[in-house]
C-alpha cells in the first residue's frame, strides 16, 4: 500500500498512490495512514484521486483511520472518483466526512 504525505499551505495531505483500496489492502492502508499522520495536530486531507475502486473493507479502513485520528484531528477527503464516490453515497458515509471535489477546493476551505 503506497501512500505519500506532504504539506500544502500548512495542511497535511496524504495521497493514496494505489488504484484500489480493497479487502487485501485495507489493513495496510490503515497502518500506513496511522504511520504518516503520527504526531501531527491538524486536520488531515486524504487525496483519493488515484483510487478507482473501493469496496466496503476499504471504506471501513478509511472510517477506522478517521476514528484513530479522532477526537483530536479530523480526516477530510478529496478527489473521489465516480466509483469511490458511489460507495460513500450508498453507505451515507459522504455525510460523515468532509468531502471535497478536489485537493484545491479542500485547501481553500482548510487553510488559515
Amino acid at each position: 500500500m503506497e501512500l505519500t504525505s506532504s504539506t500544502e499551505r500548512g495542511v497535511p495531505i496524504v495521497t493514496v498512490q494505489e488504484q484500489r483500496i480493497d479487502a487485501a489492502a485495507a489493513l495496510a492502508f490503515k497502518d500506513r495512514v496511522r504511520d504518516v499522520t503520527e504526531g501531527g495536530q491538524d486536520t488531515v486531507l486524504l487525496d483519493l484521486n488515484h483510487v478507482v475502486f473501493i469496496d466496503s473493507s476499504g471504506l471501513g479502513a478509511i472510517v477506522a483511520s478517521m476514528k484513530i485520528l479522532s477526537p483530536k484531528r479530523r480526516l477530510v477527503l478529496a478527489g473521489l472518483t465516480p466509483a469511490v464516490d458511489k460507495v460513500f453515497r450508498l453507505t451515507r458515509m459522504d455525510s460523515v466526512f468532509g468531502v471535497f471535489a478536489t485537493v484545491e477546493a479542500a485547501l481553500n476551505e482548510l487553510q488559515e
Binding site: A24, S56, V63, K67, P82, A83, T91
Partner: protein, 148 residues
C-alpha cells in the same frame, strides 16, 4: 438487447483467500469485455463480486487457509448478467441470504461502523440475490442489470 458477440457460460477458479479476490475480479472483467460495459456497470460488477467473494473468504471459508478454491461462474442473457459464486465452505446462517440493513452512520465518530456494509451493498446493486446449498457446496447467484 443489442447484437453483441455471445458470451459462453464462463467459469473462473480462485484460491479461497483474500489476496486472490482481486485477480478473480480481473479475470471476470476480462470475460465480460465483449459486453462493452459502461464504467458504472463495470464498477457494479466489481463491487458486488468483491463483497460476495470477501464474505466467502472471511466467513464461509474462515480458517481454511486457502486449501479450497472458489468458483465464479457467469452467464449473460436477456435478463442481464448472472454471476454465481460457488464454494465448499460452511452454509449461510439459517440457509438463507442475509438481508442486513445498512449500519447507522448518524452516530458519534467513535461509534461509526467500519464494517457490516457488505450485504447491504450487494442487495442495493444486484437485481436479485439467491442462495442454495447443494451437497457440500454453496451457490450464491447475483443477477445484475448490466448489458441489457
Amino acid at each position: 438487447m443489442g447484437r453483441r458477440p455471445p458470451l459462453p457460460l464462463f467459469s473462473i477458479s480462485l484460491l479461497g483467500v483474500e489476496d486472490a479476490v482481486r485477480e478473480g475480479i480481473a479475470q471476470t472483467l476480462a470475460w465480460l469485455t465483449p459486453l462493452e460495459l459502461s464504467e458504472d456497470e463495470t464498477n457494479t460488477v466489481q463491487l458486488v463480486l468483491a463483497e460476495a467473494l470477501n464474505n466467502v473468504v472471511e466467513h464461509a471459508l474462515a480458517g481454511t487457509g486457502g486449501q479450497t478454491t472458489v468458483e465464479i461462474r457467469g452467464h449473460h442473457g436477456a435478463s442481464g448478467l448472472d454471476l454465481c459464486i460457488v464454494d465448499k465452505g460452511i452454509a449461510m446462517p439459517d440457509g438463507v441470504v442475509p438481508r442486513l440493513p445498512a449500519p447507522d452512520v448518524t452516530v458519534d465518530v467513535a461509534d461509526l461502523p467500519d464494517g457490516g456494509f457488505g450485504w447491504f451493498l450487494i442487495h442495493t446493486l444486484a437485481q436479485d440475490v439467491t442462495y442454495v446449498r447443494r451437497g457440500k457446496h454453496n451457490y450464491l447467484t447475483l443477477r445484475l442489470a448490466v448489458a441489457l
